[in-house]
């Protein structure tokens, strides 16, 4: 494992993650526009309703599909840190394994504390 190879793996990972997320959101988006395209827009007032994880049932079919795609998108940078961690471990680069672990721990803390 070299840095060059790690870069190429991370690049591929990001590309796959983003393509997957975009396809799911595009699919959900076409469905959403087909169902609601002619309805009036309503984002003037904020409805502080817990969405997604808290109550998956609160979303309509197309909205749930878009949400799934967004979750895949959000997961790509996190997956990137995990892949880097593995890559640095394979390079036997202890300092960077530690660095990646700290980043991952802080990410886990802030994502975790938001949901629980």
């Amino acid at each position: 494992m070299t840095d060059r190879r790690l870069e190429s793996i991370i690049g591929t990972l990001l590309r796959v993650g983003v393509s997957l997320a975009a396809s799911v959101v595009l699919g959900g988006g076409i469905w959403y526009l087909a169902a609601h395209g002619m309805s009036p827009v309503d984002y003037r007032h904020f409805h502080a309703a817990p969405r997604g994880f808290g109550s998956p049932g609160s979303l309509s079919g197309p909205e749930a599909a878009i949400q799934l795609g967004l979750l895949i998108l959000i997961a790509t940078p996190v997956a990137r840190v995990i892949f880097s961690l593995v890559g640095f471990a394979l390079e036997r680069d202890r300092a960077y394994v530690a660095i990646a672990l700290v980043v991952l721990a802080v990410l886990a803390y802030s994502i975790g504390s938001a949901w629980w």
Binding site: T12, V41, V103
Partner: protein, 278 residues
């Protein structure tokens, strides 16, 4: 306005945001937030959610290309992410005790000054001697130039790391603006070449945004119907931007960067004065 027309407009604006964001390392929020709130009458909460989605989309979309081409320095990115992510957590803790409005105004003024500074290339644009810490952490690298690989050295690692902590804290406190501080710290303090600074910032902002997106998602800030055209538009724009980076002149990129952070500065001051922040 019906949903179809609205989505079309948001898609177009987001494509522009992604294009500019991927070339400057600033993410797309600078463009997306004011257009949604001021021009399209979207509530600020939804706009913040959409802006966060746009940052992650710009980052991951363009980073795929930048990392493979060898622009982004993944070691610099990883190392500095320690400072930005911890800073973001500390910033979120401080939110209740810090006068956020006043801070936004101060930060806006600092950014205006940085915009003026960014127009001029640093006198000594490349570091002649590497910081011993940079060598130990293998931060020195190379990037593709017009005539083959250009190598560079990284200096003042500790100061840069400290500034990154500040950048993370500001992003935790204010929601936006972390990309600007990241680019400035790498370009001005650590003397990393401009294109490497912007692409490494672009690489990092996705992680910073992912760290705070959970909070916003849980509170319902992210409306799927609005996030959909934002994400698809930003992705299209950022992929186009990534394709133009190689040929773009650094001088032109610096000008675009300066213009965008000047706009960001005015947004911060406006938000601070009107109390528009959360």
């Amino acid at each position: 306005m019906n949903v179809l027309v609205f989505s079309g407009i948001v898609f177009a604006v987001s494509a522009l945001a992604g294009f500019v964001g991927s070339l400057t390392g600033l993410g797309g929020g600078v463009v997306v937030t004011p257009v949604l709130t001021l021009a399209l009458g979207v509530d600020i909460h939804y706009a913040i959610g959409a802006s966060l989605v746009s940052v992650i989309a710009t980052s991951s979309g363009a980073a795929a290309a930048y990392v493979r081409e060898g622009y982004s320095n993944i070691r610099v990115g990883m190392f500095l992410e320690v400072a930005t992510t911890i800073g973001a957590v500390v910033g979120a803790w401080l939110m209740a005790t810090v006068p956020v409005e006043a801070l936004a105004v101060v930060f806006g003024v600092v950014l205006l000054y940085s915009a003026w500074l960014a127009l001029k290339a640093p006198k000594r644009s490349e570091a002649r001697e590497a910081d011993p810490l940079a060598s130990r952490l293998k931060l020195n690298g190379s990037y593709p130039g017009p005539e083959g690989a250009v190598t560079y050295l990284v200096t003042r690692v500790k100061t840069g790391f400290g500034l990154m902590f500040g950048a993370g804290m500001l992003s935790g406190l204010l929601g936006i603006g972390s990309g600007a501080m990241k680019v400035i710290a790498m370009d001005r303090v650590m003397l990393i070449p401009f294109k490497v600074s912007t692409t490494t910032s672009n690489f990092m902002i996705g992680v910073t945004a992912a760290a705070s997106v959970g909070i916003y998602l849980g509170k319902g800030y992210i409306a799927p119907g609005l996030a959909m055209p934002v994400m698809l538009g930003v992705l299209a724009g950022s992929l186009a931007g990534a394709r133009h980076l190689m040929g773009a002149k650094t001088r032109v990129l610096r000008r675009i960067f300066a213009a965008v952070i000047a706009v960001l500065a005015m947004e911060m001051i406006y938000n601070g004065v009107t109390g528009g922040l959360k």
